[in-house]
Structure formats: structure tokens, C-alpha cells
Amino acid sequence: MALIEIENLSVTFTAKGRPVRAVKGVSLAVEQGESYGLVGESGSGKSTILRAICGLAPVSGGTIRIGGQPLPSPRGADFSRRVQMVFQDPYASLHPRHTIDRTLSEPLAIHGIGNTDQRVTQALKDVGLPPNFRFRFPHQLSGGQRQRVAIARALMLEPSILLLDEPTSALDASVQAETLNLLNRLCAERGLTFLMVSHDLAVIDHMCDRILVMQHGQAVEELPREALAKAEMKTDYARSLFAASADRMLDA
């Protein structure tokens, strides 16, 4: 049994009284400890799938199961201890007037977990930030440092699943490298399962074991990592996505 099972998922928003079918019958399964990537053009429904898992999108059909269990609505405390999300823009996702200390200790307080001091210090250490950063505000950190804080916050409740939505797209090449290395290290140390969205096929290739290509809310093709580098895709759309990434190949 896969850890995350999505079957025939559909999400329909209503905008100006008209339905917008953002996700149309997508199925995917992510094994425990696996890194699974979602790629596809913007508007293809990638973020919506992650948000649907978190109970933040109007699901109009299909099922989502984690560890074999259907998810309750609202998701509840149990869910946030197992699944956490990291967004593209760490500035928008951190409260501007809360210190890093408050940002990191809040999930603990909500879930009645003690030993706050030690856990916050350890969390900063785990993501490679100095302990005195506790007393800073988001605007006093660089983009890469803010994304580290966002990752630290996601890890406070020791979840087993991280949903990563373009986690390095706002970052420089050098900071992206540090952040990807950090995620891979944490994944190995804690046996985390990743479901990750990126528009950069090289990032997905570096991080993920399997890849789902999406277009217009639909799953177009699923590929194992090896098939990507060998250009063994079956659909024209996946091939065009790959062709547009020619400069991201190893020997480009």
C-alpha cells in the first residue's frame, strides 16, 4: 500500500459563477520514503493537488488516502502532525511581525508539545541557521534563510510527509543548491516522503524518483527518473516539456 494514494481526484473552483475545473480525474500513488515530482505548465493544477491534500481546495470527486485512511474534513490536528507544506515564496508564508522564535514555537503550542526551547534551537540547527536567529523577524533574513525557516517550521511537528510547492523557484542558483541539499539530507535522515512541484525539470530530476507530467488539470504521463534523462517519454506534451529543458541536460 502506498503512503499517499490519490484516485481520480477532481477539483472545481467557481469563479464569477462559472466552474473552473482545475484538476480533472488525476490518480497517483507515492510510496513511503519516495520523492515524487509534479511538473507541467502553469495553471495545470499542480498546486491545487497539494492544496487538495491539505483540505484547502474544493474537491468535486475522487479520493485521497494517507496510510490507507481517507482524510477527515476539516483535516484536523492529526493530519498536520503527519503532513506539512512548504511554499514557493517564503516571505509570503511567514508572518511578517512574528519573530522566528514565535513562528517555530507556535505549532508546538497548538499541539500541546512541550520542551519548546530545546526543540526550537534544535530545529534551527537542523536547517543550518545560528541559534540567535530566533529573535529575528522575516525581513531581517535573506530569501534563502527565510526558506530555511519555512522548512524548519514544517518540520516542527516531525511530519512524515512534506508537500513542497516550488520550494526553490524564488531562490538563486547558489541558495537553491543549499536548500536542495538540505532537503535531501533531511529526507535521508528522517525517511521523509516528498511530493514536490517544480517547473524546473533539472530540480525535479535531481530530487525525485518518479515524475507526473500534467497539462490542463490532467495527468499526461508518469515517468521514472531514469526515463527522463534518456528522453523515453511517450506523449508529445512530455517530450515538448523535455525539449524546452535542453539546456538543463548534463552535457549541455
Binding site: 469563479a15 464569477k16 462559472r18 511538473v39 507541467g40 505548465e41 502553469s42 495553471g43 498546486s47 514557493q88 535573506s142 530569501g143 523557484s169 524564488a170 531562490l171 538563486d172 542558483a173 547558489s174 541558495v175 537553491q176 543548491a177 543549499e178 536542495l180 541539499n181 535531501n184 539530507r185 517547473h199 524546473d200 525539470l201 533539472a202 530540480v203 530530476d205 535531481h206 527522463l228 534523462a229 515538448s240 516539456l241 524546452a244 529543458s245 539546456d247 538543463r248 541536460m249 548534463l250 549541455a252
Partner: protein, 276 residues
């Protein structure tokens, strides 16, 4: 023909913590071509771009030995002259559409506003122009987008709307600050080909600011590589992958590659001699 020339540009912020030298003596010139500016965040790319429009607010200060656009001295120009230049002659697409689009105005209204006020166009004509501009940036459902509020757009959509809006008055110079950073590769390629087409057919100059070295090398004619407020290397864009400066090389080495090893990615050595 030179459209813009900048000599020894300096941007300084007097802050409580001391003087921040955001741009330290940058020089470049630009014809009707695509000039890329790359470098990590904080290297001074945005401040350089904004200086051309004199959009640096106090406590920031701009100084330059020379800053000339199509015969106009941008240092001496009055604030009124600058306002007349901004938009119709020099347009800027900002890094984040969230901060450039008016959150309480529907997209269509924002697109039509300038056409109606500046160009005195009728409602119907302005509507058609706006739809045309949205179609030009490959928005599939322009009528729906016209009706949308900015917060209803995905990041990529917002960015395309911004570009459409900036291009409506047909400027001579477009400064695009990370215009495609939120877009996936296929849409990015589409948007870039739109920009490319405009540079060619309208004879527009383009300053393309990005932290994505690969994108800049594919898309621009010439590239400035900035580090800590200075240009460390200037080279033809097609040679970017063969850059000589260790900073540029370091940035290239940090990038993951399709089919590359699963080892940790190399980090940039910030303690090397060149970084001091």
C-alpha cells in the same frame, strides 16, 4: 544606435546602520537589443534597473557620470519629464505582479485605464486592444481574465498580465525585472518569444534582469554579471556557459542537471579571493 548609456552609476542608501552601497560604479550601453543582467539576489540588479527610471526613493541616492536615454539626460530631467517617460517610452515589468497590479481593480479595467485616459480611446476599442494584448501573451481565456481580480490569477497568469499591460503603450525600452521567474519552462519560452518578437519587430530595447543564467544565455544578446553592486564580467550571451570569472563559473556549477549525479550540489565558495 545607442538608446541608453550609463556611466559609473552608483546607488547608495544612508541607513541607521550605515551606508549601503547597492550599486558601485556600473557602466553599460544598450541599443535596440536584449541586454541581460544576472547575479544573485542583493547584487544590485533591481536597483540598477530602477535607476534608469529614477525610481529610487530616499534614503536611496543615485549618482552617475552620465545617464542618457535617446538624447535625454536622465540625471538632469525634471520629475515631470520622468513621469512622461515612464510607461510610454520606458516601461518596467516588476519582479512581483502582486505588488504592481492594483488589488481592488479588475484586470480588464487596469488594462484599459491607460488606453482610455492617455489615448482617449472609447470603451469598445480599449476592450478590444486589451483582449489583443492578453492574447499576445498567450492567455487562453482572455475574457475570463479581463473579469478576474488580481488575487484570482496564478503567479504565471499575473506575470503575463503585467507584461501585456506594459506593452500596450509600445515603449522604446522595456526593463523586465525577473519577468518569468514564476513561470514554468514551456510558458517561459512562449513569453520570451513574445518579448523577442517585440524587440525585433518594434525595434525595442530590452533590459532583462534574471537570476537564471541559463535563461539569460539563451535569450539575450549580451550579459552583465553582477556581484556585490559591481559588474564582474560582461560577455556575449552565447558564451555565458564558458564564462571566465570564477563567480560566474561558481554559479553555473551550483545548478542541478538532468541526468546528473544524486550527490549534494556544489556550493559557491564565498571565501575565495574574488569575493572580497
Amino acid at each position: 544606435m545607442t538608446l541608453l548609456s550609463v556611466e559609473n552609476l552608483r546607488v547608495t542608501f544612508d541607513t541607521e546602520a550605515g551606508v549601503v552601497e547597492a550599486v558601485r560604479g556600473v557602466s553599460f550601453s544598450l541599443g535596440r537589443e536584449r541586454l541581460g543582467i544576472v547575479g544573485e539576489s542583493g547584487s544590485g540588479k533591481t536597483q540598477t534597473g530602477r535607476s534608469v527610471l529614477r525610481l529610487i526613493r530616499p534614503p536611496g541616492r543615485i549618482e552617475a557620470d552620465r545617464m542618457n536615454f535617446d538624447g535625454i539626460d536622465l540625471i538632469k530631467a525634471s520629475e515631470r519629464d520622468m513621469r512622461a517617460l515612464r510607461g510610454p517610452r520606458i516601461a518596467m515589468v516588476m519582479q512581483d505582479p502582486k505588488y504592481s497590479l492594483n488589488p481592488v481593480m479588475r484586470v480588464g479595467q487596469q488594462l484599459m485605464e491607460g488606453l482610455r485616459r492617455r489615448d482617449g480611446m472609447g470603451k469598445k476599442e480599449a476592450h478590444a486592444k486589451a483582449i489583443e494584448a492578453l492574447a499576445a501573451v498567450q492567455i487562453r481565456d482572455p475574457e475570463r481574465v479581463m473579469d478576474a481580480w488580481p488575487h484570482e490569477l496564478s503567479g504565471g497568469m499575473g506575470q503575463r498580465v503585467m507584461i501585456a499591460m506594459m506593452l500596450i503603450p509600445n515603449p522604446d525600452l522595456l526593463i523586465a525585472d525577473e519577468p518569468t521567474s514564476a513561470l514554468d519552462v514551456t510558458v517561459q519560452a512562449e513569453v520570451l518569444s513574445i518579448l523577442d518578437n517585440l524587440v525585433r519587430t518594434r525595434g525595442m530595447g530590452l533590459i532583462f534582469i534574471s537570476h537564471d543564467l541559463r535563461l539569460v544565455s539563451r535569450f539575450c544578446d549580451r550579459v552583465l554579471v553582477m556581484f556585490k553592486g559591481k559588474v564582474v564580467e560582461e560577455l556575449p550571451a552565447r558564451d555565458l556557459m564558458k564564462a571566465q570569472h570564477p563567480y560566474t563559473q561558481g554559479l553555473l556549477n551550483c545548478l542541478p542537471r538532468i541526468g546528473g549525479p544524486r550527490e549534494p550540489l556544489p556550493a559557491l565558495d564565498r571565501n575565495a579571493d574574488w569575493a572580497r
